[in-house]
């Protein structure tokens, strides 16, 4: 019996030492942390900033609907009170060349009269992707888009929070939050919420 127990103990130790190379069992996988942040930056950088660019061009031209080739062809623009506009869009939109049905409603408030004005943005939206995946995103309060570059080329400082819930065919898959406090590259991403 002793012999049996010794052999068993040795085998267990051998198995445990073999399994230490695993990167998932009891391990730490940071892959989705960084990649998830990059995905959400598409919403902040491409989608919201694209809509603001379209809006600024439309305001210059006095249009209330985007009818030319742009980020959001077909986006409607409704003037609200003061310096506030309501934007809505439903149609395809590409993140880095990959296009899926996307819809959003934004309320934006212009904070100054610069070429690229500073804006407060409140957004809710949805994106439906392949294999049953979809996400709903919204700003938590307002996100401020600020342009501080001397050449006034675009919005380089963001303040606020953007949340996203990811669904697949089995229900909620993940909850994410991207917090901006200045340069977008310094945004803090959190998932598993």
């Amino acid at each position: 019996m002793k012999k049996t127990l010794y052999i068993f103990a040795a085998a267990v130790l051998a198995l445990c030492s073999c399994s230490k190379g695993s990167d998932t069992v009891g391990g730490n996988n940071n892959y989705n942390n960084t990649a998830g942040g990059s995905y959400m930056m598409n919403i902040a950088d491409n989608l919201i900033a694209g809509a603001l660019e379209d809006l600024e061009i439309a305001l210059e031209m006095g249009k209330t609907e985007i009818t030319w080739a742009s980020h959001f062809s077909g986006m409607t623009i409704i003037k609200d009170t003061g310096n506030t506009w309501k934007l809505s869009y439903e149609g395809p939109f590409a993140f880095d060349g990959v296009s899926y049905p996307t819809s959003f409603a934004m309320t934006v408030t212009r904070l100054n009269e610069n070429k690229h004005a500073d804006w407060d943005v409140i957004i809710t939206g949805k994106r439906t992707e392949r294999e049953g995946y979809s996400c709903q995103f919204e700003s938590v309060g307002a996100i401020t888009y600020r342009c501080t570059t001397p050449s006034n080329t675009g919005w380089n400082m963001l303040y606020g929070r953007l949340s996203m819930i990811v669904y697949n065919q089995y229900g909620k898959q993940d909850g994410c939050l991207l917090t901006f406090d200045g340069a977008p590259s310094q945004a803090i991403f959190m998932r598993g919420l």
Binding site: I7, L15, N33, Y170
Partner: protein, 195 residues
Amino acid sequence: MKRVSAILALVAVCVLLCTPSFAQGKREINVFMSGACTEYTRLNASKDYTRDLYGLYESQVRYVKSGPGLTVDYNQEVLDWLVVGGQFNLHRVEWEAYTVIDGKNSRIHNTKNKVAVLPQVKFRIPSPRHFRLYAKVALGMTVNIGRYYTQDPVVFAWDLVPIGCEWGGQRVYGTAELAYGSVIRGGRIGIGFRF
């Protein structure tokens, strides 16, 4: 498939509950550890991970699975060469630490677990008293439990042991087996008690 799995699970429970009553032979409990791959790597690496949710959540990186599993089986001897029973497997436990990009905060979630319940039949092969050979086949179900599972919660499970051996005494003995199936593809080693 879900119905088949549920029926097999029911059979497993019945076998576990009823075995002492329909046979007069000895009973045994075996506790195994497994140390081979429990799931194989999915190599369909997606480059869309920053622009596509499927690519983000189902890329190959999250699917390298290797590590220890635990199997407990309970059997009743029906004939000298035939043993029936059931096995319970905990063959995947995954914890994942979610950290923010700047690394200041982190939280740890138990994300994915697999447990399997399978009724089984074990065939003893004539062999010496202190070194007994057997083969085993088991069918049942695997239940996927966890926060971020992207698969069906209940799936069909099977486990085939083409060859296994027991060595040592009649009451306490060592046991090892090769296994192939949905539960594990590799080997198990453990300790058994006969009473």
